[in-house]
């Protein structure tokens, strides 16, 4: 590791708040996108299953 301790990694010699918030945004916003895609698929599957049952 580049840093001497986990505390150093967290603080990043004063830049910690900037760096970690950026990584948080990257992961958070993309995870939100994945979650939204999954929930939309689940919803669409539910609808198609309902239609398929009616057709039968």
């Amino acid at each position: 590791m580049f840093f001497n301790s986990l505390e150093d990694l967290w603080l990043m010699s004063g830049h910690g708040a900037f760096v970690w918030s950026c990584y948080g945004l990257f992961v958070g916003l993309l995870a939100l996108n994945v979650w939204h895609s999954l929930s939309q698929r689940a919803q669409a599957l539910k609808q198609v299953r309902a239609i398929a049952r009616r057709v039968k």
């Binding site: 580049f2 010699s13 004063g14 900037f18 950026c22 990584y23 945004l25 669409a44 198609v48 398929a52």
Partner: protein
């Protein structure tokens, strides 16, 4: 049928079939998911904890590993969206319009990430969150273009018409892509010029460059995954009356 048909390989037309896209998309998805997860986790851990600090910017340069991939993807996705729209218009391919539509939310997300992380990076580096510099302004315009495409799509209820209209807006909007790219050369910007390219030899040392490469490739894999997921959902929404779908294991298997 279009006169261009004979020039295109068979897979191109198969891709236009919702059934074929649904099947192949479903098979490819787990691989893109796995690749995205490994590449992004590897790149982020390397970038955060193992890459050496920059001699000028110190540790704040680590923001590059999320900022640059987001900025690259925000532009690639816009071009992909415009190309998919063009394919939809030229070959009257519904699936291509669906792909274009899937690009909107993902592209807007990456653009927002690029703008936000850029602003945060600006504070320790330039002393300000925002300047009306050509690169930043043209990227903000990109976000507005995504919003415009989204709004136009939602305003038109008929999906083919919506697909065509948004494709034209996206194609016209691509004029902004070279403006973003060359803004740092054409204007005197605070934003630094490009230090990363997939095709040119890197100017930074490998232990700084490789994590960035991993992040860019991982972001492309995540983009592919999300496009497949969202397009397959649109196929579910529009093909619910077809036999192949109602008899599909995804539907019947419950």
């Amino acid at each position: 049928m279009s006169s261009l048909d004979w020039r295109m390989p068979r897979w191109f037309h198969q891709m236009g079939s919702p059934k074929w896209f649904y099947e192949w998309g479903g098979r490819l998805q787990p691989w893109f998911a796995l690749a995205a997860l490994i590449l992004l986790a590897w790149g982020m851990i390397w970038g955060l904890a193992f890459a050496p600090a920059d001699y000028q910017q110190g540790n704040s340069f680590r923001i590059m590993y999320v900022h640059v991939p987001a900025a690259i993807l925000s532009q690639s996705i816009f071009v992909t969206m415009a190309l998919a729209g063009a394919i939809g218009i030229i070959w009257k391919m519904k699936v291509a319009f669906m792909v274009a539509r899937s690009c909107i939310a993902i592209g807007a997300t990456f653009t927002a990430i690029a703008l936000l992380t850029g602003a945060i990076w600006g504070k320790p580096t330039w002393g300000t969150y925002w300047v009306w510099d050509a690169r930043l302004t043209s990227t903000l315009v990109l976000l507005f273009l995504y919003a415009g495409v989204m709004a136009l799509h939602q305003a038109i209820s008929e999906s083919q018409t919506a697909g065509k209209a948004t494709a034209i807006l996206a194609l016209v909007g691509t004029i902004n892509i070279p403006i973003i790219k060359y803004s740092v050369e054409w204007w005197n910007t605070l934003h630094q010029s490009s230090s990363f390219s997939l095709t040119e030899k890197p100017t930074m040392p490998a232990e700084m460059y490789v994590p960035l490469l991993l992040m860019v490739l991982g972001s492309y894999c995540l983009f592919a995954l999300l496009v497949l997921m969202r397009t397959r959902t649109q196929i579910l929404q529009t093909q619910s009356q077809t036999k192949w779908l109602t008899q599909h294991p995804d539907i019947e298997g419950v």
